[in-house]
């Protein structure tokens, strides 16, 4: 399958005063057409920045982003507009991402006029009504002329999803798209997003900090686990959840509470060597997880930067960035 979006060695840093903060480092990532891909990580791992670069809202500091095989930075005119129309993003906070002074019709019709997808008000109203129906905001007339503050959080997030659909995209980046809505309606929204793959031929990249939610969303797809600006493990979801390889993935999975009292209380927790998350401005040398890693190998992990590779003779086909693992060593607990 030809990847629809691709990162080639992408890095991105932001400047705080004169100090550059490396938020993403050397990311290689392919988004295959119509797959479920999930980016998972804790705050500050670079998952939102990745989403913004994928959707063209940010440019990489170095490296290339390919859309349908073509370098995005070289696209001009109609080709560039085609890319921007084709890749849409849903932001996390439905309270902040909708303009409070515009009605739902204004919000949804603006991109339609901007991209000349409609030519007059009648067409625009029809198309907006169609979009609202797609996201189950019915009856349409109850919603279309309202302002965002008149809707509930769940309804607003549906408007955000409808807005992402205005330009008939082929890829939607959903950045924590359900984390601000209530538990009881979260799965409904997620199921709706998942159904769009088949009904609208959209590839969905789902960004979340919640591994259980990622597992549910991408069971037939892949998960990429990020830590401090790098992908540390990527693989098919059943592999990654069932046979986690990278120490960080293992620690994360062991730490997550489960909604089952007996299971969650009998879980074995892996202890970190340190609970302090390094600052992005003072990243440790070698593998950036090494100061916390329970299986740290002196002279290896603090000396060389690990690259993604499969683990030899493993039950999992995931690629991991961990030198002891990819060089075929067994993990042994570090003792100073």
């Amino acid at each position: 399958m030809e990847p629809i979006l691709q990162f080639k060695n992408v890095s991105r840093s932001f400047k705080k005063g004169r100090i550059p903060i490396p938020v993403l480092q050397d990311i290689d990532l392919s988004v295959n057409a119509l797959e479920f891909l999930c980016l998972v990580g804790e705050s500050g791992c670079g998952k939102t920045t990745t989403g913004k670069i994928l959707s063209g809202l940010l440019a990489p500091s170095s490296g290339r982003v390919l859309f349908e095989g073509r370098d995005v930075s070289k696209l001009r005119g109609e080709a560039y507009r085609h890319y921007r129309r084709s890749v849409q993003i849903i932001h996390q906070d439905p309270y902040a991402s909708l303009n409070p002074t515009q009605t739902i019709y204004d919000i949804l019709s603006f991109p339609l006029f901007r991209h000349k997808l409609v030519h007059n008000r009648t067409q625009a109203r029809d198309r907006v009504a169609e979009l609202l129906t797609m996201v189950d905001l019915t009856p349409v007339l109850d919603v279309i002329d309202k302002y965002p503050h008149q809707l509930s959080g769940g309804q607003r997030q549906r408007v955000s999803i409808a807005r992402a659909l205005t330009t008939n995209p082929s890829v939607i980046i959903a950045d924590e798209a359900v984390s601000m809505v209530d538990v009881s309606i979260r799965i409904g929204l997620l199921n709706m997003l998942m159904d769009m793959r088949t009904s609208l031929n959209v590839t969905i990249v789902f960004i979340t900090h919640d591994l259980a939610l990622a597992k549910y969303f991408a069971w037939d797809g892949r998960i990429a686990v990020m830590y401090l600006g790098r992908v540390v493990e990527i693989g098919r979801t059943p592999d990654l959840i069932g046979e986690p390889q990278h120490p960080y993935t293992r620690v994360l999975l062991s730490a997550i509470p489960e909604a089952d009292p007996q299971k969650t209380r009998s879980k074995q927790h892996i202890l970190l060597r340190s609970e302090d998350i390094p600052r992005l401005t003072e990243l440790p040398p070698g593998c950036s997880f090494h100061p916390r890693c329970p299986w740290f190998v002196e002279g290896v992990c603090d000396a060389r930067v690990p690259q993604l590779a499969p683990v030899p003779a493993s039950a999992s086909a995931s690629e991991v960035a961990c030198i002891p693992l990819t060089e075929g060593a067994a993990l042994t607990l570090y003792t100073p």
């Binding site: 979260r186 259980a212 939610l213 997550i256 909604a259």
Partner: protein, 351 residues
């Protein structure tokens, strides 16, 4: 500890180990659009050393409920009915009847509260030790050696480097460290109850794990009771000994953590449990609860959950179901608990 003031002492009707008893509590918010019935006829007991989780969605009234225990409700709120009885050392008082001075001392000495996003609760221009000393002084404890010793002891208990944190300013600590310092501050005066409002929501997974472990250890050592408010079912499964499901301002089900997760009888509890993905399962079959939480100015008639309930019958639209005890300590308010049980068994077959 507290100079018991005679007039507010009430007759003790509580069992030995019950330290907080909420009786038929109703709270409304007065707004220009009408009265919001945030809490309606809530009753429950909190026993010594237990952890009670209040779970429910935003707007279900769980924060209102917990604020009423320390009388911190906003001015627009009015308690229209009920009592909140608190018992310590054989003396029982109604929190709602305490004088201003009594309630001031009750807060923190008897009942501490850690708010949501509390990592920002410290004063940024004072050293942490100063804030511990101020809190102690406000409650009449001025023995500097005692304060220092207690503070350092508590830092050790929450797994912080005592010497480093004692002299630190809040900005010198990470979010997780601040949260742990705050837990230490919460138990400084040896309260019987600690209320935690979404204690881990703003934190990363690994920090969250550290806080959970620290809380469990603290509770074991100091034997206080915890009331915690969360929408996170996994956290409740991990921490709670008892769970109350709150919907539209009412407790709709209450029981031991096993009752709630394995033997639930209310369709809302069932709906919540069915909407949470679990790592330990293969592919799960999840379902949302249809619709949205109701408007509490004009709540639905009968059972407030009926517009979203798949088992709703005509009876549910008219008669509000009473909270009935099904097993000792397990109560639920639903006319169709048998149907919920059947659906629960079908869902549990996934494990």
């Amino acid at each position: 500890m507290i100079g018991a003031v005679k007039p507010t002492i009430v007759e003790n009707t509580m069992k030995n180990d019950v330290i907080l008893q909420v009786q038929d509590l109703s709270i409304v918010y007065q707004t220009p659009r009408g009265d919001v019935m945030a809490t309606t006829d809530v009753s429950f007991d909190l026993r010594k050393g237990e952890t009670m989780a209040l779970i429910g969605e935003s707007g279900s009234g769980k924060t209102t409920l917990s604020l009423s225990f320390i009388r911190m409700l906003p001015n627009s709120a009015r308690v229209t009915k009920g009592k909140i009885l608190y018992s310590r050392d054989g003396v029982t008082r109604d929190i709602l009847e305490m004088s201003d001075n009594e309630i001031r001392r009750f807060r923190w000495s008897d009942c501490a509260m850690v708010f949501q996003g509390a990592q920002n609760a410290f004063n940024p221009v004072l050293r942490v030790r100063q804030q511990f000393a101020d809190t102690a002084a406000a409650h009449g404890k001025t023995d500097k050696a005692w304060i220092k010793q207690r503070t350092l002891e508590l830092f050790k208990l929450v797994r912080l480097d005592p010497e480093r944190v004692y002299e630190a300013y809040p900005h010198e600590m990470s979010g997780g460290m601040r949260q742990r310092s705050l837990l230490a501050l919460g138990v400084l005066l040896d309260p019987q109850i600690v209320i935690l409002d979404e204690p881990t929501t703003a934190l990363d997974i690994l920090t969250q794990r550290a806080i959970i472990d620290v809380l469990k250890e603290m509770q074991q050592r100091l034997n206080f009771s915890i009331i915690f408010i969360s929408h996170d079912l996994a956290l409740a499964a991990e921490m709670a000994s008892r769970v109350a499901t709150v919907y539209a301002g009412e407790i709709v089900e209450e029981g031991s953590v096993e009752d709630i997760f394995y033997r639930h009888r209310h369709p809302y509890t069932l709906g919540l449990i069915r909407s949470v993905p679990r790592l330990s399962r293969q592919q799960d079959e999840l379902m949302s609860i249809p619709g949205e939480p109701p408007n509490l100015i004009t709540p639905p008639s009968g059972c407030k959950f009926h517009p979203r309930c798949m088992f709703a019958s005509d009876k549910c639209k008219v008669d509000p179901p009473p909270l009935v005890e099904y097993e000792p300590g397990h109560r639920a308010a639903c006319w169709h608990t048998d149907k919920v049980a059947a659906a629960r068994i079908a869902f549990a077959a996934q494990d």
